[in-house]
């Protein structure tokens, strides 16, 4: 390519990149900076406001409701991630084995993932309120005899169930595509050395699909930490704020509760937490992968 062509090319690339960068800056970086600025004020969302320095951050760590939302969100994220990955892996192993109606079954198991979380939440809300308690009474269980959603100690379990119902579909598909990358002769060679069943899975299959396990862990944790729709549809944070997720609390009190500044500080901390966890996960998994 001649010199004139190169400059023309460089110009074109810049003409593409600069406007896109500006767009991204205006609707991603700028609001992020504004959020950080608001977090140092006592802004209510309207009217005038003052600088309060680090007051919001200090208050944040003493606020029971904020602490409760972090506890709930992490409890949900950890439990749902474990439940989802165990079931997904089992399902994927099943759906990848020599079965009849393979593609139909795979297609059917994926359906929950394409449905909107809010509507799914409303449907399950009815299930937990009107169907499950009747079954609970039939088996004579006190715990399940009344609605899970109005049980302060167990409402979070219902949220886990609904989150898992949808996420399992996605993770299963990813595990299946992982299992398909394992060549058949690995198993043949393994079976000569006596690796079958659980041994085969532990020493051959799992290490070989480890990168897919990583993807699923990162996807799960990130999605569950940001949970919102399911809370909106199932519990609205109740009973007694026992299922208030971080995103829901920020929305609820920041947008309508006059805590614009305070919840901005909450959002900044939440952002830092997400970055730290994602960084840790990616760092840990790349280390593990090198060892394998």
């Amino acid at each position: 390519m001649d010199k004139a062509g190169m400059t023309g090319r460089k110009k074109t690339f810049l003409l593409i990149t600069i406007p896109i960068m500006i767009l991204f800056f205006c609707f991603n970086t700028l609001p992020l900076i504004q959020g950080v600025i608001y977090s140092f004020t006592n802004f209510k969302g309207y009217g005038s406001y003052d600088w309060v320095g680090l007051r919001n951050y200090i208050d944040l760590f003493q606020d029971g409701r904020v602490g409760g939302s972090y506890l709930f969100t992490f409890k949900l994220a950890v439990c749902a991630t474990i439940v989802v990955n165990v079931i997904s892996l089992l399902l994927a192993l099943g759906l990848n084995s020599k079965i009849k109606f393979k593609s139909a079954l795979r297609g059917a198991y994926f359906i929950p993932n394409i449905l909107g979380a809010l509507v799914v939440g409303y449907i399950f809300n009815y299930f937990f309120t009107y169907i499950l308690p009747v079954w609970g009474q039939m088996i004579g269980s006190k715990t399940f005899g009344s609605s899970l959603l109005s049980n302060e100690k167990l409402a979070w379990v219902a949220v886990v169930v609904v989150c898992a119902w949808q996420s399992i579909a996605m993770n299963t598909i990813i595990y299946i595509s992982g299992l398909q990358t394992v060549p058949e002769d690995v198993y043949e060679a393994g079976s000569i050395d006596g690796a079958t069943g659980w041994k085969q899975f532990k020493h051959l299959t799992f290490p070989l699909i480890f990168s897919f396990f990583t993807i699923n862990m990162v996807l799960c944790i990130k999605n569950f930490l940001m949970v919102f729709d399911q809370i909106m549809a199932l519990t609205k944070g109740g009973p007694a704020q026992s299922t208030e997720s971080i995103s829901y609390l920020i929305y609820q009190n920041g947008m309508g509760g006059g805590q614009f500044g305070f919840q901005s500080a909450n959002a900044v901390v939440f952002f830092v937490v997400i970055v730290l966890i994602s960084g840790l996960q990616l760092g840990a998994s790349s280390k593990k992968e090198e060892q394998l």
Binding site: F24, F27, L91, L105, Y109, L225, Y251, F270
Partner: protein, 280 residues
């Protein structure tokens, strides 16, 4: 030569998987039967709720369509999703091209790449409140603003996908076009854009599923504009459904139907798209 013995079908696992399908089908079955029933058929016993309806009347659906202004919210959802997908494919593939072709040798472009891709870690919760102020200030507190925001939110993931895909497209193709006198811009549209078709499909599926089902962005950005999307309408009309669950479920079913039909038609593309997007 290895003789391939045809393995026998594993029936126990097949049956187990079919039984397990109940967990997927039951909530959908429940939605369908309740949507078709009249409130008088809903006795307190389970059999009353879960039995098949006496008559498959469409009255609930007609009423739900009227109450939630179904066709308008469906239209809004379609406009927002289609425009978001089209604009995303054009802008994000261009960005992916400019960045992907330069990030290896240019510090500036590798910075731009990191800058945009790291946007993936910014939760909506922190952007939400400033964005509400910002969009209201510049007159974007409406469906146009929602589309602009989606295009920005999906940029990190899609730029990552496109620039990753570009690595497999040899430079020689472009150089040949230059020799024939084409500019970079022309080369892009005539050669690169068509070649990236598989990635367009992936981006389209992921972006469409995300925007179609999203509630939070339209909720905070355009709830003041009097417009609603299909999922958002389900929330807005909760109070009007009251305890008429048959009406509510008819409305839920209507909200789920478009994406279910779409999935039945393009199942293969959707599955491929989702897997491609996650694995890359």
């Amino acid at each position: 030569m290895k003789k391939k013995v045809k393995e026998r079908v594993n029936w126990p696992i097949t049956i187990l998987l079919i039984v397990g399908l109940i967990t997927v089908i039951f909530p959908l079955y429940m939605t369908i039967v309740i949507a078709f029933k009249q409130p008088s058929e809903m006795t307190n016993s389970i059999s009353g709720i879960l039995s098949l309806p006496k008559s498959w009347s469409l009255a609930n659906f007609a009423e739900a369509m009227r109450v939630t202004d179904f066709w308008r919210s469906l239209g809004n959802s379609i406009i927002i999703t289609v425009l978001t997908v089209v604009v995303s494919i054009v802008i994000h593939s261009l960005a992916g091209y400019a960045i992907g072709r330069n990030k290896a040798k240019s510090k500036f472009y590798s910075f731009v790449y990191l800058y945009i891709v790291s946007g993936m870690f910014v939760p909506f919760a922190i952007l939400m409140m400033p964005l509400v102020k910002q969009t209201a200030m510049i007159g974007l507190a409406n469906w146009v603003g929602v589309i602009v925001l989606y295009v920005v939110f999906y940029m990190p993931m899609n730029v990552l996908l496109y620039s990753g895909y570009l690595v497999n497209i040899p430079m020689a193709l472009e150089e040949a076009a230059y020799v024939d006198g084409a500019t970079t811009w022309q080369t892009y549209w005539k050669i690169i854009f068509p070649i990236m078709k598989p990635m367009h499909a992936t981006v389209a599926v992921l972006t469409a599923l995300g925007t179609w089902n999203d509630v939070m962005t339209p909720l905070v950005i355009m709830s003041g504009s009097g417009m609603t999307t299909l999922p958002l309408a389900q929330m807005t009309f909760q109070t009007q459904f009251g305890t008429n669950y048959n009406l509510a479920f008819a409305s839920y079913l209507l909200a789920l139907l478009p994406i279910l039909i779409f999935y039945l038609v393009c199942q293969k593309q959707i599955l491929n798209g989702v897997v491609n997007g996650a694995v890359k």
